[in-house]
Symmetry: C2
Subunit: 248 residues, 2 copies
């Protein structure tokens, strides 16, 4: 069996996220596996995504990997997948990967983008990919200040949405970039890896900073507390997109 | 009553076009008029669009005009509209217009963009705004050659979708620009005004040229024939967007 990697993008709006969750689910992973099973005439193909995006989260640069036996070229595999995939999932490329390559365990850097809209009338065409914020204007300078204490390697337990998480909650955040224009605020997170809901809880917390309800210099204390209840709410899924996954 | 003009954008996917067509319709014009009636507490407000886009056609720069009596500022009118409009219609601005300004009769230039997709996997996020062409690669050089004979002032009766059109079918096309990249072919039409379905019939005809089924030098003869049956099919509505309307 050869090992393949593929670059996938999807509009997550109508899916229960990336990862399979049972027999009656509706996930990106399941859609891809079903087509690869049909293509190879086998009962089981396991497709591993680099980032297990939650329900409603989008991807422009998801990397996934699978092992199959086939005579088809990588271009033919790609075309086969795109022929049978719905319009809201697209496989941009398929390549032969090193035999031991694993899309999740070997990933060294992931980039997520969270888009906050300031005026829905400007987002008619990408309204499904933006969280329209309806409050008073956010203090972006304060939000930027808060990111300083969040950068780097920390225990992000306060920002972990899984209360039963047994493994380490230490993660390394290489950078958080906040860009603002007239109509939206974009927050880009570049890290080694992310905990469940971590980006969205970070965004929910940064929005509270932007609202003046939370001190931008309180992030150190929040990290130290290791208590999810002390962080902000989980921002809506629709604003989040997995942009890129890198490997060494 | 003061005369107002507004800049409107909409995703036309789920509408029966711009123009009201009866009591039970679902049009952009009707949505805007209903809200303006509520805002002013009157029974009738007439909203005139510069371009009467067909069912399924989108707009990024529609200009519309209406006369109302109100104490509200233009910013308040805009905010009121956006509060009650669905997410797929947005009013970008409202301004006081000259008393005799008419959005359709005074328009001197309109720009339409038609997007032809070459690979749907690349258009997951704008799949509703592109016509995914599934045939063999189009000969874009031939399509460009065909546009030479189409430019200028002509009787476009062969490209008019309304068989009962009684008024002049002469129109002036200032320019047709065809741009191609790896994933799509964009055709921009800049003209004084357009007949019903004219842009889409021009696109359907240009696609036949790109398929090698029609001589790029046959456009003069097609214009002279003044016969809709001799032109190509009407390209799908979803690929078309009204981009800009200009006034002197």
């Amino acid at each position: 069996m050869k090992n393949y990697r593929m670059l996938v993008q999807y509009d997550g709006t109508r899916y229960n996220g990336w990862q399979k969750q049972g027999d009656t689910d509706n996930t990106i992973q399941e859609k891809l596996e079903t087509i690869l099973c049909r293509m190879t005439g086998t009962d089981q193909v396991d497709v591993h995504g680099a980032g297990r995006t939650d329900a409603g989260v989008h991807a422009r640069g998801q990397v996934a990997q699978f092992r199959i036996d086939t005579e088809l070229s990588t271009g033919d595999i790609r075309d086969y997948l795109n022929t049978y995939l719905p319009d809201d999932i697209g496989v941009l490329s398929v390549d032969v990967a090193a035999p031991r390559f694993h899309s999740r365990f070997n990933a060294t850097q992931k980039t997520y983008l969270y888009r906050i809209g300031k005026d829905k009338s400007y987002h008619v065409f990408d309204r499904k990919y933006i969280y329209e914020y309806r409050g008073e204007p956010l203090d972006v300078a304060a939000m930027k200040m808060a990111t300083i204490q969040l950068r780097g390697e920390h225990d992000f337990k306060s920002f972990c949405g899984n209360p039963r998480m047994r493994k380490s909650t230490v993660r390394k955040l290489f950078a958080i970039h906040i860009r603002e224009n007239e109509h939206e605020i974009d927050i880009e997170f570049i890290g080694e890896g992310f905990l469940q809901y971590m980006v969205r809880i970070l965004v929910g917390t940064l929005i509270e900073v932007g609202e003046g309800r939370r001190d931008p210099r309180s992030m150190d204390a929040l990290l130290e507390a290791r208590d999810r209840k002390l962080a902000g709410p989980t921002a809506p899924a629709c604003g989040l997109t997995l942009m890129e996954v890198r490997y060494n």
